[in-house]
Amino acid sequence: MPTLFQQIQAGKVWDFHGGIHPPSRKERTNQKPVALLDIPDRLYIPLRQHIGVAGKLLVKVGDRVLKGQALTQADNAMAVPVHAPTSGTVLAIELHTSTHPSSLAEPTLILAPDGMDEWRPRKPLDPEQADAYTLLERIQESGISGMGGAGFPTHIKVNVKQPVDYLIINAVECEPYITADDLLMQERASDIIAGIEILVKLLSPKAVLIGIEDDKPIAAASLKAAIGQRDNYFVREVPTKYPSGGEKQLIQLLTNKEVPAGRRPLDIGIVMQNVGTAFAIAQAVLDDIPLIHRVVTVAGETLAQQQNVLALIGTPISDLLNACGFQAEPQQRIIVGGPMMGFAIADWSVPVVKTTNCILAPTEHELGAASEEMDCIRCGACADACPASLLPQQLLWYSKAKDQDKLAEYNLSDCIECGACAYVCPSEIPLVHYYRVAKAEIRETQREALKAEQAKARFDARTERLEREKQERLERNQQLAAQRVAQQQASGLASQSAAAVQQALERTQQQAAPALDKEQIIAERERKKAEALAYQQQKQQAQTAEPASIQTSEQTEDPRKAAIAAALARAKAKKQAEAQSEVAAEPAPAEATASDADAKKAAVAAAIARAKAKKQTEAQSEVSAEPAPAETAASDADAKKAAVAAAIARAKAKKQTEAQSEVSAEPAPAETAASDADAKKAAVAAAIARAKAKKLAEQPQTEAAPATDVAEPVAVPTESTPEQDAKKAAIAAVIARAKAKKQQNSEPL
């Protein structure tokens, strides 16, 4: 039993499952030399022409570029640059329809050639001297990606660590019409062999197998002649059958090995390159000509001259067609790629890119449009034709049902989209098309699953971070509270706050005790009232300086300090009271002689009004809030004080709202609460005033004063309506009360 290598050496060629024999129609173009075209008026060079990512743009609009100059720079492994196919000026870098079945716009550089065709300096390499790294770098910098169709970056494909048994050069070109590689082999066989030698240097394979269909005898002969006496270079002529040029099919033909599903040929020690890629490598290394042109078959019966042309990358397809004597039919279809795997384009200005091997402009008679799709009759012809040994009818079934699990089970991913099944289908079902849609959907699902995973990770990270920040804030607050206690004890105000703390603590302890008896509660309330009164008197004594300062508006500093201190004391007392029901927490209850029910109602109304007022302030500009301080702003100094007082009142009110069952939290609304509506209105006004006052209080006082001044004129027009007047009166009343309460000064504003 001879080994595999011996069998290969002996010239054995195997076979693969399925395949079809469509009319080749290659005779129209394979006898004519490759034509050279004039430089077109405009070149549209897409920045990305391969599988991977676009490089970094190196030129800007208006730059003059030389032939072969890199327009983008490969800044990562999956990027290959694009080059200027001729010298000229960069007209624009904008979106232009891509040479892709989607016809979506892609970033494209538009070059206006100057006709000089002036080269940049070229630095040919000697492949004998250069090391592998230099060669790979040159391959990448020359923008070479696979020219057979997929456009995978070549430098990645040939930069392998694993041992390579066979380098297979794909010269099969099995699709009808296309003869671009055929002509290249006929004309430039020695260059191709030079390119293969560079690949051999990079990959060091046991043997080089060149697979070529037996309908290209001239090309095969010229390759054999170019190979000469080289060892282990084998040209293997394979029978003409579509799709022999598929990577996996050709591997099977030449080595009888099957690439396992989901694996690459490299995993079984094989690297395959297209003959066009080998030629491009030779040009890049030996002549330093980057990938700026390629041979394109232009065929179809609407053309006067069907031929192969050497087209600059970026040449609009319409230019190519016109150069070949194109006479468009009504409803003319232009197909990029072959009739089996190509796609129709809507916009004929799309450019030739690195993977464009053929442009078809067929007549209606020559290549009919797809006819009516009929139901599958389950004849099984597609399964016989499938080169990947799949079950196309089952795949069709599950594609229509969008059953991704079943599609995976039936190995949809192994479909090479060759179109053999659709070709043999008697019901004219465009099977491949269904598979393409299904594949795109599977990719989308996978991408979404990945995104969901990332989103989840980000969400978890965020939740964790928020939790951590909350902990940190809590710790910081505790530290600050401790510091504050220390400071207060040191300051002169310590006695007051300490008394307040003491009171609050007592309250808490008392409330904690199970004092459910009604009489007890009443007695307690009375006692608390007395306590509160005492507290207020104490406070009044401490703040005797305040009323004077307000009237004279000279000593603004002292009352402010005192007010802040008082607020701090209250806040502290509040905290330690632990949010229990605070029947007599504040001095306010002394005033609140109204019944519990009324006060409660008023408090609820006030809370609702505050929420409403908050929304209003968010939605509108602060104009509506401004009348209140404006009204009270008898003088600048007064306004400042009112702001401070209001801020304190607001802080207090907010705290009270947070606490539960605030029986007499808001004496002000309680008093005015003749009806719910009135109370609401007043509360809204008060809330707005508070919001405004907060702003003013937060600003430095010097800023606050002009702000109030500005507010005054705004307030004037709004005073005209009676409703506004009532509102304003309420606002004034609230602020007056708040101020009065705080300062224990009954003097009206």
Binding site: E444, R462, E618
Partner: protein
């Protein structure tokens, strides 16, 4: 006598088994409900809260406790189908207003942004970058299209825009069939 022996034997056996079972209960304890994990895997992780729960995981827990499986608009019918398979219940139509089929992402009109950071705080996946009084912007790749940032914006400068189609994400159009049949 023989009864006592039997009782002894059974008692010792009971003790041994009890010890083994007790040890196994600790040693092989299942930390979380694996069903919740499975449901959470299926949910689209937009964390949008449209189901009425504050995130995908809480909804997953709710489903595990018997809530309806049709409350996830971002997941759509595909998610409902998978949940129905997992939970062994009938798939139901989506329990919400018809959501747009196209995937959308948030877009901040940057000229109008006042830099209030409210949207940053609202974003469940930290897909908005910016600082106080600085312009904010959305990381399109990370945005799950949950809409949660639209409401808090005080100047209404956030739009939900359909995700731009790209060649990578493009799906073949069944109407434009390029596969040709050659007549010989």
């Amino acid at each position: 006598m023989s009864i006592i022996t039997a009782l002894w034997a059974l008692g010792i056996l009971a003790l041994i088994f009890g010890a083994v079972l007790g040890y196994a209960a600790i040693r092989f304890k299942v930390d979380a409900d694996p069903l919740v994990e499975q449901i959470d895997e299926i949910l689209p992780q937009t964390q949008c809260g449209q189901c009425g729960y504050p995130g995908c995981r809480p909804y997953a827990e709710a489903i595990a406790n018997g809530d309806d499986i049709n409350k996830c608009p971002p997941g759509g019918d595909a998610t409902i189908k998978k949940l129905a398979d997992l939970m062994g219940v009938e798939a139901k139509p989506l329990d919400a207003a018809q959501t747009p089929a196209v995937k959308r992402v948030a877009f901040i009109r940057e000229d109008e942004c006042i830099g209030c950071t409210k949207c940053i705080q609202a974003c469940p996946v930290d897909a908005i970058v910016g600082a106080s009084k600085q312009m904010h912007t959305v990381l399109t790749d990370e945005c799950t299209g949950c809409d949660l940032c639209v409401e808090p914006c005080p100047v209404d400068c956030i739009d939900m825009v359909p995700l731009a189609s790209s060649i990578e994400r493009w799906k073949w159009d069944l109407k434009a069939i390029p596969v040709k049949v050659l007549e010989s």
